[in-house]
């Protein structure tokens, strides 16, 4: 009798928690893998306002001396020139570059930015004039190129930039340059 009572009282109050901990960590692992903790990062872009029947004088004008045009072409190749390049008879000097960190498109943008600032301080341009970059992606460029070049605008703090449709004139510039350099 007495023995039994002792036995009953001895019954350990301790429960083995190991399986519970195992289960806990298993579930934690599951939730850690399925969860999306951070929201995805985005890049906001503002496209130029476009109306189908826009009058000619409502369109924004870009000065030749503040403008830079970047043409995106195949194989992540970039052609750029300073100016608007609206005149097909006077083809601008096209330069070819890429997205590399050294001597790439970034340096070209920085150079143009300095040039515009120089012209402003020399009094040839008014203080309101700002560097304006037009990005014209050709049909054989990719989304990567577009995002990269827009990112360069943010990186170099370009005040005004816009993505516009490529013109036949620009395409001619590219093919002429490609021919001259023997690029297929």
């Amino acid at each position: 009798m007495a023995e039994m009572e002792v036995k009953g009282g001895k019954g350990s109050p301790r429960v083995d928690l190991t399986p519970m901990v195992d289960l806990g960590f298993l579930l934690i692992t599951f939730f850690m893998f399925t969860t999306t903790m951070s929201k995805p990062k985005t890049m906001e872009i503002q496209m130029p306002f476009k109306e189908d029947n826009m009058k000619e004088d409502e369109k924004s004008k870009v000065k030749e001396s503040t403008a830079m045009t970047i043409l995106l072409s195949k194989d992540h190749r970039i052609y750029y020139y300073y100016g608007i390049g609206s005149d097909a008879t006077k083809p601008p000097e096209l330069k070819v570059t890429s997205f590399k960190d050294q001597d790439g498109i970034r340096d070209a943008i920085i150079a143009k930015k300095k040039e515009v600032q120089g012209l402003i301080s020399a009094g040839q341009l008014s203080a309101d004039d700002k560097l304006t970059i037009m990005v014209k992606p050709a049909e054989n460029s990719t989304t990567d190129d577009l995002i990269n070049v827009l990112d360069e605008m943010t990186i170099n703090a370009v005040p005004i930039y816009a993505v516009v449709d490529i013109t036949p004139v620009d395409l001619e510039f590219i093919s002429a340059t490609e021919k001259a350099n023997g690029i297929q």
């Binding site: 990062k41 890049m43 906001e44 970034r106 989304t143 990269n148």
Partner: protein, 218 residues
């Protein structure tokens, strides 16, 4: 001879504290979790230095590598309103079961005329179908009557005017494909939208790096 009982040590560690921690973490993850939405296709997003988080209420336009467009919205109420409206206006006569399937489903990448049969599939069949789904028609060359993406955007903005637009485009998608999406947005008078991008380090020595260092820009 009396037995000497040696106290046994160390064979039993008190698990209570560990258990507490485990369940604390478990509770945290359960509450903080938001399940990854089902992705119809694998999309490799381009990288940018931008760190702007995605807006709260948005519709997601996914553009796959081969130029197929998928449409999705997170908000369940908007989803229901949207599908009811589209079912009526396009004369699809979707059954309540199909509407429920849309509401609980993920991205849509089929033209309107296939939407009914697509929603009649089981979720597993839909996932399988999405791999070869035709995508939402985004033709911009002809009239916008045939541009169904335009209709999706218009209708969802009608259901919730605050909706922002996020584009998740594959880096290898050709420019004309993304141009179609951008032109469609332009037609809907949407000129400001977000591209979902991967993170990239700010290159040192640039204007942006100076701004970040000065704390002007996040």
């Amino acid at each position: 001879m009396p037995k000497v009982k040696m106290p046994r040590k160390g064979s039993h560690v008190d698990m209570t504290a560990m258990c507490d921690v485990a369940f604390l973490l478990l509770t945290f993850f359960m509450l903080a979790t938001k399940f990854k939405p089902q992705e119809p296709v694998v999309i490799r997003t381009p990288a940018s230095t931008s760190t702007m988080p995605i807006p709260n209420d948005y519709m997601l336009l996914s553009l796959s590598k081969d130029g197929r467009v998928f449409f999705s919205i997170d908000n369940l109420n908007v989803r229901e309103e949207l599908i009811t409206e589209i079912s009526q206006s396009k004369g699809l006569n979707l059954s309540p079961a199909q509407i429920k399937a849309f509401k609980e489903g993920g991205s849509i990448g089929v033209p309107f005329n296939k939407l009914g049969s697509y929603l009649a599939l089981t979720p597993a069949q839909r996932n399988e179908y999405d791999k070869t789904a035709p995508g939402i028609p985004t033709d911009t060359t002809a009239s916008y009557e045939t541009n169904e993406l335009s209709y999706w955007i218009k209708t969802s903005r009608y259901a919730n005017p605050k909706l922002r637009i996020a584009i998740k485009a594959d880096g290898d998608a050709k420019y004309p494909e993304i141009q179609k999406v951008i032109a469609t947005l332009g037609h809907e008078k949407v000129f400001r939208f977000n591209f979902i991008t991967d993170g990239k380090a700010v290159p040192p020595g640039t204007a942006l790096a100076t701004e970040v260092a000065a704390g002007k820009k996040e």
